[in-house]
């Protein structure tokens, strides 16, 4: 396995109607700095539909990257040993319909990442 394989951490968040911008602002201000300190690099933020809805839900896709499974574990150990991270996600749950988190690689890297 290459320690250089790019791993994507993807948050998919469906905000409560009319609260999409608030959710993303909070994510940027209160979550992103800690995530970067834990070793993740912000790749992109996508919003669907690409306008803030007043009376319906926006879906926000936030993608982070890091290199290799050892760095994934290092990031994850830091987050689970910081109660503030769990507290943050509990707060977010008040503003959203649902969320999911996915861990992925490019299809071209699947053979490499499973070659352990």
């Amino acid at each position: 396995m290459s320690a250089d394989t790019t791993i994507y951490v993807i948050d998919e968040i469906v905000a409560l109607p009319g609260r999409g911008r608030e959710v993303l602002d909070a994510y940027r201000e209160r979550y992103a700095p800690g995530a970067e300190a834990r070793g993740m690099t912000l790749d992109r933020i996508l919003v669907s539909p690409p306008m803030w809805l007043d009376d319906d839900t926006n879906t926000i896709l936030i993608t982070w990257t890091l290199k290799g499974a050892p760095n994934w574990w290092a990031m994850s150990f830091r987050s689970r040993n910081d109660p503030a991270v769990a507290d943050w996600w509990a707060e977010v749950d008040e503003m959203i319909v649902r969320r999911s988190r996915h861990f992925a690689t490019a299809e071209a890297d699947m053979a490499e990442i499973t070659n352990v």
């Binding site: 574990w73 994850s76 991270v85 988190r101 992925a104 690689t105 499973t114 352990v116």
Partner: protein
Amino acid sequence: MYSLVCLVHFVADGGRDVASALAGLGAAVAPTLPGVFNGGDLIAHFDFADEDSYRDMLPAIDGVLHGPGVARSDCAFYRHGRHAAAEPALASGVYRVLLLSVDRPVGAEVLHRFESEMVRMPHYIPAIRNWRLSRVIEARGERRWTHVWEQEYASLDGLMGPYMLHPYHWARIDRWFDPECPDWMIDTRLCHSFCTFGRGVLGAQGGGSEA
């Protein structure tokens, strides 16, 4: 069959007689290897034919665990759960045990899904030679341990390499353990411990799979 696994923490400069005392009670005993997390200084693993045998033996075990040289211990008594032994004769391998506590309110269906995913790990990670996943009947220590996840590897490399690095572990299973994931349901305080007993403790359960 039933088992009791104890992760024993020694007091400073203590524990010299603990291993022999527990071995004298029938346990497989070995010092933990570097790299354990909340895994203690010593692992003791007992097998019992039935729960009564455990109850009969427990006062003597407690006498050791509450005696000189022992600071504290994390213990789990359990009836053998799903298991398989791909290499039942493995005697020189590394035994690893994870004590975990499902401490969030989840339904039986979710618990079943978690357990079903866990027992698929050896399918994707063949470095896990022998294994067993069991629900805990009686727990002691820092948490109310609910599950015991045991594995045997041919060497430490299997645990540190394939087990930790395979994406089925970190990109699939670990969401149950990760406070950042919506499926999180397991206390972040875990006991991750491993040792070399010099004999197998999982292979004796038979080579067939009950997964």
